[in-house]
Every structure is written in C-alpha cells, then in structure tokens.
Symmetry: D2
C-alpha cells in the first residue's frame, strides 16, 4: 500500500508542505508506505501535445528524459496519490499543471487498448493559500484525476487559508489528516480490507501528528512566528 505525496509549492516548510506531511503521517498510521517529492526539485518539461500527432504516439513512458518522467513512474507505481499545491491565481501552481499535462501519457493508454494507468488509484488534494480559490483549485484537481480514472474518497479536498500557519489551525489540520486517512483506507478497501470511510475527529491523533510534522519541518511550536506575515498577503 503505497501513498505518494506531490508537493507543488516552492516552500518546503510552508503551509502546503505542513498539511501534506500531516496527511502522509496519517496514511502511515493506516499502514501505508509513503514517499513525497517536490515539483521544484528538478525539471518538468512542458507537454508538447503528442496526442495530436498522427500516430497515436502519446503513451507511457513519456518521451522526455527528465524529472517529470521520474515522477510519472512514481505515480504509476503508487496506489494512492495526494497532490498538495499552493493556490496561485485560483489554480494549482504552474509546475503542478505541467505535471498534470504530462500525466496524459498515463491516461492515454486507453488509445492503445489498455486501461488508463490511473485507473484504480485513489486521489486526494491539499490546497493552501491566504485568500480565496481553494475549492476552485481542489475541485479542479479531483475532477481532473477522476477523469483520468481515479477514485475520490469522501472529504478528499483539504484546504487552509492560514498560509504558513496552517499547521496551527485545528480544523484545517484535521481535514488534511483525513485526506491521508481516507486515501489510505480507500486503497485498503480496494485491496479487500474492511474499513470505515467516515470522517475521523480525533484530537489526540491531531496533536501527535502536529508534533511529528513540527519536528520534521524544524518549525517552532510557536504559531505566531509563522503567522506574523499573513497580513501582507492578498491572495
């Protein structure tokens, strides 16, 4: 049971990372192995639309030899996917959009008589900003992955408008933890396990995970240090 986290933010300990790591810790508590990658740690060449060629030619693996190809392989191998993005103009960051465009090669296997390579995977989204656009971004992500064949567990969109202070908002953090729990449990369900897919409200789990993520991200326990600047932000 493999759950893959994708970080679409340039900030490795900002709010997006905080909630992604919280979700991954939660998935581990359900027995998942987890990995995560930042989209800013290598080059993801933009899709050149081979699907329009006479061939058809757009198929997995993608023709580009880059970090994007590595990530597509990781996506291919995962059972559960959690994409975490900052809200950039009411939408995922450009690097995440590049990855999504490149994922066409996984879905387009249907043109070669195979199932979509996203079929049977379970998808959740984490979205962090400082103003508006959370549902627009998260709704976009789940509609897109569902259109590639992924299953969407309940409460699959967690978001926070607390920016760098997201980890200190109990409701937002509990929602992110649920994305991790419910993605992992839905994977387990598909593998024949009995699970509950109801929202989990568990303060002890929340505090435990918050502590782990604080340590992992080397953040102070003091939220104020992180919220200080939120006043500047308009979106």
């Amino acid at each position: 049971m493999k759950v893959l986290g994708i970080l679409g933010s340039p900030h490795k300990n900002g709010g997006t990372a905080q909630l992604l790591f919280s979700a991954l810790r939660a998935a581990e508590k359900e027995g998942a192995e987890t990995e995560w990658y930042s989209l800013y740690d290598g080059e993801i060449k933009p899709c050149i639309g081979c699907i329009q060629n006479e061939g058809p030619e757009c198929r997995f693996p993608c023709i580009f030899e880059d970090y994007g190809k590595f990530l597509l392989q990781k996506i291919y191998e995962a059972d559960g996917l959690i994409f975490a993005t900052p809200i950039y103009w009411f939408a995922p960051s450009g690097v995440m959009k590049n990855l999504i465009d490149r994922m066409t090669c996984l879905e387009n296997m249907v043109s070669f008589g195979e199932p979509s390579y996203l079929e049977g995977k379970v998808f959740g989204a984490i979205v962090v900003g400082a103003d508006t656009g959370a549902l627009m971004t998260g709704g976009y992500l789940i509609a897109t992955l569902n259109s590639m064949g992924a299953i969407i567990p309940p409460w699959a969109i967690a978001y926070s408008y607390k920016s760098k202070a997201s980890l200190w908002d109990d409701k937002d953090l509990m929602n992110a933890i649920n994305v991790g729990l419910l993605v992992a449990r839905t994977v387990a369900l598909l593998k024949g396990k009995k699970v509950s897919l109801f929202y989990v409200d568990d303060k002890a789990l929340l505090e435990e995970i918050r502590k782990e993520v604080l340590t992992e991200l080397k953040l102070s326990e003091e939220p104020l240090r992180h919220v200080r600047k939120v006043g500047y932000l308009r979106y």
Copy 2:
C-alpha cells in the same frame, strides 16, 4: 442497494433523461434497486439560509413542507446518487441548484455532533448539452457532493454534447452506462462485496440498454428524428 436518479431537465425524454435512464438500467444489472424523480414535478422552495441563524437551526429534515423535502428524504435513504442535468449556462439547471442548496440540511448534521447524512453515499453525474460547459458542470457536482461527504467512483462524470441525440452516440452512452455500473459497484464494495472498479467497454450491454431506454422513452430507433434540430442550438 438503492440507487436514486435525479433528473434536472424539463424534458422527460431528452438527452439528459436518455443518459440517466441508461445509467439506472446499468445499476440494476449490478443488483441495485433504482428510483428516479424529475425536479420539475413539484415545487422546491429556495433555501433561506437558516445556517446563518443564531441557533444553529439548519438540520434534517428541512423546515419546508414541499416536494424538496420529499426528495431530501429520498436522498437520505439512498446508497447511490446519480444527478443528471442539462447544461444551462455552464452549470446545473436552477432547480438542481435549489435542491443542492437545500441539501445543506443533510450535510449540516455535523453541527449537531452527527456525521454528514451524505457520508458513505456514492455519487455520479450526467451532464448533457449542445456546446460547452460539461466538465465545468460535472466537476462542480462532484466537488460539491464530495464536500458533503460522498465517495466519487472512477469516471463519475458522463457527458454528451449531442443533446436529444445523446442516446445514439456510442461513446457517450457507454460512459453513462459506466456511471451507473460504477456507482452501483462502489456501493457494493462498501457493503463488503468484491467488485472491479475498472471501466467497462461492452457493446452487447450497450445495445441492450439502448433498446430498453428507447422502449421506455417511446423514442423511435431512428436517431435522425432526434438530431434534426441540434443545428439550432448554440449552448
């Protein structure tokens, strides 16, 4: 295993109805009992936003004694939901939006220490138009129902731009049948059955269901009678 179809179109044998009924026939073949209701067969008073009152007061059942209340009860009792809507200005029809607003009372049970009454239900969408807006409408529906607690099976948005001729488009029809199959199978999975959640491509099933729906809707087998006017439509 109960699957409920909601028809958001004023036309009872138009494309929206054609694909909804196809999905329901498919769900029955998976062992589901089905029912359907047209949103145009009674009054659905607009939500008056009790959630904003001091109380809190917004809870199931809704205070209005109308057709909307009847439908909310039907939704409450169902395991699977398929909402079918025409595309009116890139979004569900106004009557369907009224129903969604009224569904707040089901979700808002979380304010009373209960789970959302949509939790654990499985949701799919069927969207029919003549121009554009299909994914915008279907994506809106799955994001909203997911935010109320519903599970979204793979390929949960089926759409057609063929308007009254939707039933004669093999791809669009197969997609609608899959919404029915996959909603029913996901319900079965949650009840402990072993199922596959992969897309089904089955021409014999398609022809069988098309024939059933033609008979049920008293439509001619001749598609041309139905496509004749599509040229008029701009959206």
Copy 3:
C-alpha cells in the same frame, strides 16, 4: 445611466445586501440612478428550455408571467448590472441560477437576427460567504454574463468572507464600492464621457458610504453584534 442591483440572498441586511447597497451608493455618486430587487420577493419559475423546441421559440419576453418576467424587463432596461449573491456550495444561490437560466431569452435574440439584449451592458459581481468559493462564484458570474454580451470592468468581482460583518471589513467594502464606481464609470465611458477606470482607494468615501448603508439597513455601528455568530459557519 441606470444601474440595477439584484440581491440573491434571503437576508435583506446580511453581508450580501451590505456590500450590494454600498456598491449602489457608489454608483449614485457617479451620477447613476439605481434600483434593486431581491430575488426572494416573488416567484421565478425555472426555465423550461424552450430553446430546445423546434421553433426557435426562446425569445424576449419570456413566456412566463411571473416575478422573473418583471426582473428580466428591469435587466433589459438597465445600463449596468450588479448581481450580489451569497456563496451557496461554491456557486450563486439557486434563485439567482434560476434568473440566469431565464436570461437566455435576452441572449437568444441572436437567433432572431438581433443582437443579444445583454450586449453593451456593464456587469459586476458581489459575492459573500463565510469560507471558500468566492472566486469560483464570481468568476462563474462574469464568464456567464460576458458570454451573453456584457462588458466587464476591471476589479469586477468583490467578495467577502466576513458574512454578516462584511460591511466592517475596510478592504472588502472598498472593493465593493469599486464595483459600483467602475460599473457606473464604464457605462459613462460607453456613453461618451471621459472617465478613469483605475481602482479608487478613498477612505473618506468608504466611511461616508458605510454610514449611509448602516442607516439604510438599520444596523448598529457596532460590528461585534453582527460577527458574533460567524464562528458557527463552515461555508
């Protein structure tokens, strides 16, 4: 120079009304005559999709004799339109969606060799909620009205997540005032006047308009009375 405000909220002195009235006061200061109507003050029958009939038959005035017809006439006569809606599930309220569906008869005049009756009108949106969905709702409104032929001035979407306390948020209020100013100025521009379409940041104007709207809505000057309950709201 006529600017029409449409209130899509059931609450006549809630945040949506507060910001709509602020925008209308601002439009008046630019020389506009203003009117406003609540969508909850009469019946707006749902659109029955005559555009699909053989005719074509969908044309202004709409066949229904109801409050909706009255509002369509008011829209037809206006130079500028400001639609104000609460965020109900990331979208305009159901009654506003019903009105939009009914507006098809104004736009569909293009099927009769006439321009769209929305052409040349200027449109702005005001959106109020307590959680997320503001840009999704406002973006939907401007894309739809633009697709009917309306011009969209800069900064045409004003929103607040302060719910009943929206009038006390200086930034949100200034944005709503700008919707009123810029809708009116764009109307004036189209009528041959010289105007600036730049964002106006004017604290004196803000305080003046807030005072007027407080009086008009018979609200206390004390914001706390109105924010009290915001804690309850989740969307």
Copy 4:
C-alpha cells in the same frame, strides 16, 4: 495601440495558432500594432512565491532573468492582450499557467503603493480543444486577468472544439475575429475614440482573414487535410 498575442500551444500552426492569428489580423484592421510570442520558444521558470517573503519582495521586474521576464516586459508595454491556449485537462497549458503565476509581480505593485501594472489593459482569450473544457479554461483566464485589473470586452472568450480544423469553422472563426476586434476597439475607447462594442458578423472580413492566416501558416485551403485525425482525440 499595441495588442500582444500569447500562444500557449506547442503547435505553431494548430487550431490555437489559427484562431490567435485571426484575432490579431482583426485587431490590425482596427489600427492596432500587433506582436505575438510562443510560450514554447524559451524558458519560463516557475514562480517561487516571493510574495510570501517577509519583504514584501514580489515586484516588477521579476527576479528571474529568462524568457519569462522578456514576456512580462512585453505584457507591461501592451494595451491589449490576447492569450490563446489549447485545453489541457480543462485548463490552460502548464506553460501558460507558469506565465500567469509570474505575472503576480505586475499585479503586486499594489503592495508598493502603485496601481496594478495590468490595470487599464484589455484582455481576451482564445481556447481550442477537441472535447470539453472551453468555458472552464476561458472563464478561468478572464476571471484571473480581471482580478489583476484588466477590462474584459464583450464576447471575450472565443473557442473551438475543431482542433486543427478550427480555421474552417465559420462560427468559431468569426468569434475569434471578434475577440481581436473588440479588444482593439475597447483599447481605442479607453484612448478617447468613439467605437461600437457590438458583435461583428461580417462574412467578407471572415474570408479575407482566413485567406491571410492560411497564407501565413502555410496551410492548404483544404480543411480535410487538417481534420483527418480529429477522430482520435478524446479531449
């Protein structure tokens, strides 16, 4: 009067380019100087979110020395902007999203006591695909640019689902030409000229522009050569 075209497609003579060039030719007939750039002709580094830094630091010109910076300068100098994108998963291509993210430095001048550098500019969108997502993509673009301060003329979203054959669809082509005409005329209006902002339906103009674009893109006059493969495409 400068109108800038941005091509977000990797295909320099595909449907997106065909309709973009048609719009630019139309703008020239209104007296505009035009230029265009392909987003695939250089590197556009992804935005690293300086807006979150303590500074504030995100301001024009952007810190990256790349092709993106060159394009931001071109955007800064233009009066009218036309962004043309293929539909990649119901949204602009990843490269176009990267450009939009980088445009934050133009808008964020408001944090330094200046107007947004997009204020007063006029924006239109061209969107081409083979299935669905046109309004979702175009609506996203106009909502985003409007939120940066741009004015949106009527009928500002032109789209085609004809993919490589877009230039041969009269309605889609006429719509794209109108984007060019109406962007240019709105710029003229803002500069004090008297113009009409009504939709133009002019077959002679359409044929003239189609001929010019055919020549410019070295395309055969025979549409079939270009539509041949559209059958393959599913999105």
